[in-house]
């Protein structure tokens, strides 16, 4: 074994130093908390999606005639096919749980701020590609929700002036989502977007390692005191990523797999949230599901789309609002100019604003998922449910965008009163 190591080392001398640079000699702040598990968990889920995806592709048939049947074939006739399918569908939803929490960490602790704007932008690109990947993946079983979801989302592009209708036809390759659409979505979902995703993830990590990790206190360890028990030239409050964070992240992996196993083996449809009832009926262009709604992870953005009304004869404002809601997140490094990174030391106004962001995001999700449409008639019997829902949804849309407007004003004009940021990180053991 040692000889093998020397043999490789002689021919690829930079392999070992690269491993050291990114693992055993990558020094990360020692005060990572719960919120710091989600990056490595995202990688775990990505690997799961790829491996289970490859095995699904071995039996899935991509034609509009056979797709639905092939999924049932996998569920029943292929040995352990049901497990591979559930691992893939559960993984898709858990991917978004992990990614949302991962992004929220970034917002809370100011990990998007200088010098980590590039890490944040790459992360936002990953988020966009992930949404496209998930959308296309959901179309593949060619259930009734697959079809109608595809129809609604693709038709959004029809609101673009002049090129809209032509664009929609071009995307579908037909006059409605059909075999042509399904096949190209298959190609994009199975190989094109995964390759892009992998590339972006590599760049995301490379960009992070260039500038080093942030931490829950937002303390800049690189410009602080030097000298720890492993290396006198490295920050005093940083520890080698390997073995300390590899070992810690593995515990997170264990917990996560436990939760995933509960879902996969005991509640794989998750009450209809992970695998929707309507998708157990084959695609039918003549019968619309009673409630068309996208998968839960799109619901906040879908709500914004619905809540912004049409005017001047076009519905494009909702589309602009929907994409704008994601653009706002991407622009955070330039909207939030506060010097202090972490919420722990930021002004009360920021903490309230952050709470408003979370509440509005979850509320918009409830609207988009049809939860409010169900609850409002129960809570306000006899009232006009649509009016109430629109009022609620529009207030929440304003609140969501209001967060970004507030942050800009709050930090650009010096209204924020921050607490002093300590020089050393704070640990709670």
């Amino acid at each position: 074994m040692a000889n093998l190591f020397d043999w490789v080392n002689e021919r690829a001398p930079n392999l070992a130093p690269t491993f050291r640079k990114h693992m055993t000699e990558y020094y990360a702040p020692k005060n990572f908390n719960l919120w710091y598990y989600f990056g490595s968990l995202a990688i775990l889920v990505l690997v799961n999606q790829i491996v289970t995806g490859i095995f699904l592709t071995m039996n899935y048939k991509t034609s509009a005639l056979e797709a639905f049947n092939s999924v049932e074939y996998i569920m029943r006739d292929v040995e352990w096919g049901w497990l591979i399918r559930y691992m893939h569908s559960t993984g898709a939803s858990l991917f978004f749980v992990v990614v949302f929490l991962h992004m929220f960490r970034g917002i809370m602790y100011g990990s998007f701020k200088r010098p980590r704007e590039l890490v944040w932008i790459l992360g936002m690109l990953i988020f966009l590609v992930l949404m496209a990947e998930a959308f296309m993946g959901y179309v593949l079983p060619w259930g009734n929700m697959s079809f109608w979801g595809a129809k609604v989302i693709i038709s959004l592009f029809g609101t673009i002036p002049y090129i809209g209708p032509g664009l929609v036809e071009w995307i579908m390759g037909d006059f409605l989502p059909a075999d042509a659409t399904l096949n190209r979505f298959f190609a994009l979902h199975v190989i094109a977007l995964p390759l892009v995703l992998l590339l972006l993830v590599v760049l995301h990590l490379a960009a992070l390692h260039e500038v080093g990790s942030n931490n829950p206190d937002g303390v800049d360890v690189k410009h602080g005191p030097k000298g720890n028990r492993w290396d006198a030239s490295k920050p005093i409050d940083a520890i080698p990523f390997h073995p300390y964070y590899t070992v810690k992240d593995l515990v997170g992996v264990g917990f996560f797999l436990l939760i995933a196993a509960f879902i996969i083996f005991f509640a794989p449809t998750f009450g209809g949230w992970f695998l929707e009832h309507d998708n157990f009926t084959p695609a039918n262009n003549l019968v619309t599901p009673t409630h068309i709604k996208p998968s839960w992870y799109f619901t906040p953005f879908y709500a914004i789309l619905r809540m912004i009304p049409s005017f001047f004869g076009t519905a494009i404002w909702g589309v602009i609002g929907m994409f704008g809601s994601i653009l706002m997140l991407a622009l955070l490094p330039w909207l939030d100019r506060g010097e202090v990174r972490s919420v722990r030391f930021r002004g009360m106004g920021y903490r309230i604003a952050l709470a408003v962001l979370v509440i509005s995001f979850l509320s918009l999700g409830a609207v988009g998922a049809g939860v409010t449409a169900e609850l409002i008639p129960e809570w306000f019997p006899g009232a006009d449910a649509t009016t109430i829902e629109n009022a609620f949804g529009r207030v929440m849309t304003l609140a969501y965008f209001g967060f970004f407007a507030f942050i800009w004003v709050y930090t650009h004009f010096g209204f924020e009163k921050t607490k002093p940021v300590p020089e050393r990180v704070t640990m709670h053991d």
């Binding site: 919120w35 559930y86 070992v247 515990v251 264990g254 436990l258």
Partner: protein, 251 residues
């Protein structure tokens, strides 16, 4: 310090709350629960018998193979081929009804749908209540209507067992149509109402199984997986704790 624990608790609580939808009753917009148990093999066998006697004349189960029924329901090949296989298929072949599609369209107005996935699409509660809610309705082409699925194109397949059920309409308000207030038996069937509920429950259980045969297996495998992961996570924690002594002693 407290704020830190609060945020961790909020996160954990949020995740727990988020799991509530998983355990929400499937299907059934406020319909009484069917009370099915897919792990009750006797119920599955009774339900299968009912299905093949009363349903397969019109409805296929195209994703279900007779051979799979045998192994999942604990029946021998002979038992399945003699007591269940009325479609003349080979043992390994799927359950396909011989109702010709065009005849069905003429008689019922639409093709009787395949029922393999009905329990996942509509829910067991829907199926159970639907089967219990037929009533005679001369205004309909097939002579029957259903309170759970109004104007369904199908006659009551189980009327011999249930008996004849009629609708009692409420007083019609001016300008409005009268609604069905309740259903009652005008003529008894071969089964008592309690027995009939049991029979429809068995049928619903059988369809719950056909919608997801893997359900029989996944729970028993899942127990082992969860136990194993709990052990592994515990061990991983011990390793983490051991290595992190280096970090903690350093400040």
């Amino acid at each position: 310090m407290i704020k830190r624990y609060l945020s961790a608790m909020a996160l954990a609580l949020g995740l727990v709350v988020a799991t509530i939808p998983a355990f929400a009753a499937e299907g059934g917009e406020g319909l009484p629960s069917a009370g099915t148990n897919v792990n009750d093999r006797a119920s599955l066998q009774r339900g299968a018998k009912l299905f093949f006697n009363y349903c397969v004349g019109c409805h296929s189960l195209k994703y279900v193979r007779y051979s799979r029924l045998a192994s999942d329901l604990g029946l021998s090949e002979e038992e399945v081929m003699t007591n269940l296989n009325f479609t003349g298929a080979k043992f390994g072949e799927p359950v396909i009804s011989h109702m010709p599609a065009d005849s069905a369209k003429t008689w019922f107005g639409k093709d009787p749908p395949d029922l393999s996935l009905e329990a996942r699409a509509k829910g067991v509660d829907f199926i159970f209540n639907y089967l219990n809610s037929f009533y005679l309705d001369p205004s309909r082409p097939v002579g029957w209507n259903n309170t759970v699925f109004p104007n369904a194109s199908m006659p009551n397949p189980l009327w011999e067992l249930q008996g004849l059920q009629v609708a009692v309409h409420s007083e019609a308000k001016p300008g409005q149509e009268s609604v069905v207030e309740k259903l009652e038996l005008s003529q008894p069937g071969r089964l008592t109402p309690e027995e009939f509920k049991g029979a429809t429950r068995d049928l619903a259980t059988f369809l719950e199984y056909t919608a997801e045969p893997a359900a029989l297996e996944r729970q028993s495998v899942g127990v082992w997986v969860v136990l194993f992961l709990a052990l592994l996570t515990f061990l991983l924690y011990l390793v983490k704790h051991e290595y992190w002594k280096d970090v903690h002693e350093n400040h």
